[in-house]
Amino acid sequence: MTKRQLFLVAALGAAALVQVSLAPHFLVAGQAWMRWINFVAVTIAVIAVFEKKNNKFSWVAAFTGGVFLDLYSNPFGLWIVILVGAVAFIKLILKKYVRIVSYW
C-alpha cells in the first residue's frame, strides 16, 4: 500500500467520524439533509471514478470505509455491502459505457 493510499484510508476514517459526530448537528432548510450526504460514500465514489483502470484500491477503500461506518450502525456489514456494491456498479458503468479518449 502506497503512502497516498494510506492517507486515503485515514481520510475515510476522518470522514466517518465527521459523519457520525458533526453532521447530525446540522439542518438544511429545516430538514436533516445531512443524513443523505454520506462523506465516506462520496469519497469512495470519487476514488472509483478517477483511479486508473487496472487499480484495485477502490475495492479496499470500499471495504475499509464500510467497516468505519458499520462501527456506528447495525447489522455489521451492511455498509460494506452497500459500498462494495457501489464500487462494482461504478466500475461496470465505466467499463461498459464510458470511454475516455485522449488526443495527446
Partner: protein, 279 residues
Amino acid sequence: MKISFLNGLRIAIAAAAAMGLVAALNLPQVNSAVKNAAYSALEPVQSGIWNAGAGIHGFFEPLAKINSAAAENEQLRAQVSGLLAETARISELKKENDFLRQGLNLELDKEFDLKLADIVAKDIARDILVINKGRRNLIDLGMPVITAQKSLVGKISAIYENYSEVTLATSKDFTFDVRVGDGIDGLAKGQGEYRVQLDLIPKDKDLKSGTAVYTSAMGGIFPAGLLVGVVDKISKNDVETFQTAELAPAFDARGSKQVFVASGKAPLELVSGAKKNND
C-alpha cells in the same frame, strides 16, 4: 479481460476472508468487544467533534430560521403575555410544591438514580445516539435516558462495556404512551429525523397547540411525568376516528452534549412491578 486461475483464487480467498470477518463481527460478543474498543480509542476525538458541532449548531440555527423569525416573534409575544399570568400561578404552585417536597422528601435524585453521560456520536441513518457509559457503569437495556430538565431523550437499546446506544423517542417506529396536558391519553410515534407524531387522540378531545406532552406509565416503557415535547401542528380528518398532531420534541440532540441515564428507583420499580402483574 480474462482472470487467470491464480488471480481468481486470490480474489476468492480475499472475498471469503472478508465475508468470514464480517460474519465474525456480527457475533454479539465479538461485535460488542470490537465496538467498545473502537469507541474507547476514538472517544477523545469524537467528543471534541460532537461538542464543536453542538456549538456551531447554535451559531447557525438563527440564520437558517431567519425567514420565519418575524412570524415567530409575533407568536412569541402573544405567548409571553399568556406566560406571565401562568408564571404567577406557577409561583404559587411552586411554594405549595416545595412544601410538599420537604414533607415527602422527593427530589429528582430521589426519584431516579442518575448517571451523567456524554454524547459521542449518532447513527448515520437512524435516531440513535452513542453515549460514553456502558455495562461497567451498571447501565442496562431499556433504561430511560433524560435531560437535566427531566425531558425524555429515549431509552437504552444496546450496551457495550463502556458505551451504550440510546434509541431516541423520535426514532422511526418507536412508540410509547403519553399524556397530553392534564389528562388526554395518547400514543407518541417516532417519525425519524428528530420528529414525533401524536396519535390515537379521540376527536372529541380539545387538543391545543402548545400543550405539554408527558410520558405515561401505562405502557411500562418509561416512568410517568417526563416531558416529551409540546403539541405543534394538529390535524383533524372527518374520515379518521382519531386526531393526530406533530410534536416539537423537548430534547434536541443537535445542541446537546450530555444526558442522564435514569436507572430508576421508585417510579421504575412501580412500572416494572405493574408489568410483572400484567404478565
